[in-house]
Amino acid sequence: MIKKTILLLIFSVILTSCVPYKQLEELGIINTRGVDVTENNRVETTIIAYQFDAQNPQITTSTTGVGKTIKGARENAGYNTNFELSPGQIRLELYGKETAEEGILEYLSTLVRDARVSDTMLVAISNITANEVLTVGQEELNTDVGQIIQSLIEKEVKEYSIPKTSLQHFLHIEADIGQDPVAPIIGLRNNKPAIVGIGAFSNDRLVGELHIDQAFLINTFLTNVKGTPMEISLPREPFVDFIFNNETNSMQPDKLEDKEHLTILVRISKGKGDITLKNIDDLHFEANVHLEVDLYESSELLSVKNKKIAAILEEEIEKEFKRQYDVLLAKLQEIDSDPLGFGGIYRTKKKGERLTDTEWREKYPNITVDFNVNVDLMHYGTIQ
C-alpha cells in the first residue's frame, strides 16, 4: 500500500512536466485589443495587457504592433515587450471605425479558430480609431482603460439598454440569414471613453450609427428586457389639466409657459417584442411590443390622480414609442441593416428553397411593418 502511494506520488510529480507550462511572471495577459486598418491593408493592433512584474508598479502595459494579420501584428507587438503575449484572457476587442466599415468577419474568425480564445469576450467599435480611444484613455485615466470600457458595456447590457454583444452573440447573429448584429460605439468624451451610440451592421460591415436609445428598441426584440430606465418626451398638450402649478397652487394651467414637451423618466420593468409575418407575398409584418413601465420622474409636477390620466399617459407613451419604432425602421431600411430579425421570421415561413442573404437584402427595403405598442403603467411611486 505504502509502496503504491509513493509510486503514485512520484508519478504525479513527474507527469506534470509532460505538458508545456507557462510561468505567470513571464506572460503578458492580453486584456483588451484594438484593431485598426492602416494604409496598404496593414493591421495595427493596440494591446493592453496585464504584466506581473515586481519592479514595475503599473500593472497594465500598452503596446502596438503592425502586421498583415492580427496574429502577425501581435507578434510584432511582442518585439516591444519582454513578456510573452497570451490571448487566452482577452475580454474586449475594439475595432476602429474604418476597419468596421470594411468588415470585421476576418478578424473575428481568427478569434474563433484559436480555441484558446474565450467566446464570452465583448465586441465593440469606436467612432475614431481604436488606437486613439485606448491610448488617450489610458493616459487620461491612469487605470486600465480596457477594464473601464468593459464595465461600461457590461453595465448597460445588464440594464438591457443595449443588446448583448459577446463574440458568440455577434457571430451567431451575423451568420444568421436575415438578421444583422449591432455593437456599441465607444468614443471619447472629455478624453474619457464613453458609449456614444450603437453601430448597426449589414453582415459584418458597419453601415450606420444609431442613437443609444434606439439600442433599447432593438433589444426589446432580441430578449426580454427588465429594469431599463428611459427618458421619454411626450407632447405637453394632453396633460395641461393635470400639471400642478406651484405658483398659483392650483391645477390651473399655466398659460404663460409655452413648453411643447413634457419629459418623463420611466423604468421599463418588463418588455418583450414579437414579430409575426402577416402577409408573405407583400412582406407585411406586424410587430407587437408589450411594455410594463413604472413612472419615476417627470419634468413638471404631474399629478396622476385617477385612471383617466393614467390612460392618457399610457396612450401618449404608446404613441411616442410607435413613432420611435417607425423612425428606427426607416433608418434601418435606408442603411440596409436588419437587427430586429425580420428576415429570420420570413425565413422560417418561407417554403421551398432556403432564403439567401442577397435575396433578403433585395427584399428588406420594401417590407412594411405595423408596430403595435402596448404600454401598461404599473406604478407611480409614492406620490399621486
Binding site: 474565450s118 467566446d119 451567431h172 444568421d176 440569414i177 425565413r347 415561413k349 417554403k351
Partner: protein, 371 residues
Amino acid sequence: MEINVKIKPNMRIQAFYLFFIIVSMQIGVGILGVPRLVFSEAKQDSWISILVAAAYVIIVLLAMLLILKQYDNADIHGIHRDIFGKWLGKIFSTVYILYFAIAFYSVLLTYIEVVKVFVFPDVSNFVMGLLLISLTIYGVLGGLRVIIGVSFVFGVLANWILFLLIHPALQIDFNHYLPLFQAPFVDLLKGARATSYTFMGFEILFLVYPFIQNKNKVRISSLLAVTWSSLLVLSATMLAIGFFSAEQLERREWAVLVLFKTQSFPFVERFDYIVVAELMMVVVPSLLFLMWGLTYSMKRVYKVKQKLTLYVAAIIFLIGTFFFEKHFETQRVINFAEQFGFWFIYVYPFVLLPLVLLKKRLKKRKGAGSS
C-alpha cells in the same frame, strides 16, 4: 476453438452493467462532432435523422440478440466458426479484430487532437499517446471485470458535465428549428448515415454476451443503453442547432465542445478546459473496451496470449501516433473506421441472421431425422 464459451461463475457479470458497457462504448469522441455532420445533410430536420438512426440501431440490436439467442453461450467468433467453418470463420473474425484496432486508433488520435487544439498546442503526440496507452494497458491487465468497473464509475462520474449545457440551452434561438420538414427523404437518410461513427460501439455485445449471468435481462439493459445514447446525441445536436446559426455550425469542427465555451463562473472562467480534461473519463472506457476486444478476440481466434497481444498492439499504436499528426489525416482514419464499421456493424448482422436461423433449422431436421 469451442463454439460456446465456458465462463467460470466468479467471472460472470450482471446484465445491469451492460447498460454502462454499451453507453461508454457509444459515447466517446464521436458525439463532439456529430451535430455538424448531421446538420450538413439534413439541416434543421436533423432530429428526424437521428431518430431514424436510433430506430435502425435498435433494429440491429434486436437482430444481434436474436442471433445470440440461437446458441447456448456463444460469442461472435464461435458463431463464425459454426456458420463458416474453420478458415472462412477465421477470416471473418479477423475483420472484427481489425475493426477494433482501427476504432481504437481513431479514438486515440481524435482525443489527442482535441487536447492539442483546445489546451496544449505544443504537447507531442507521443507523450499524450504514451499516457493514454499506459492507462489502457493498466486497465486491460485487470481483465474484463476491472474494465466494466471503470466504465461504471466513469460513466456515473462524467455525467455532471451535462449540467454545464444549461447555460447554452437557455440561449437557444427557436427560429433555427423552423421551417419544419424541409429536408428531402434522401437527405434525412444521409443525415442518419452520418451518425454511424457516433452510434458505433454496441457491437461489443457480440463479445461480452457469454459473460453475462442473467441472460433474460440482456434485452432490456441493452435497449435502455442504446436509447440513452441516442437521447444524448439527439439533445447535443438540437442544442448545437439552436445555439449556432447554420453558417457557423457547418464550419465548427467540435460543436459540442464549443458549447461549453460560453459557460463561465466566477471561480472558473473557462470551462472548456475542464471539459476537455473530463472528456478523458469518457474516452478511456472506450479505449479499454476496444483494446480488450482486440486482445480477447486474438485469444479466441488465434490462441495468442492476451498479454502478448496487448503489449505488441500498444507498441504499434504508440509508434502509430507519430504518423497522422495532421487534422485531415486524423479525419481519414476516422472516415476509414466509419466506412469499415458501417458495413460490419450495421449491415452484417442482417446477413448473419438468416444464415444462423437456416443452420439451426437444418440441424433440428437432422436431429429429428436421426432419432
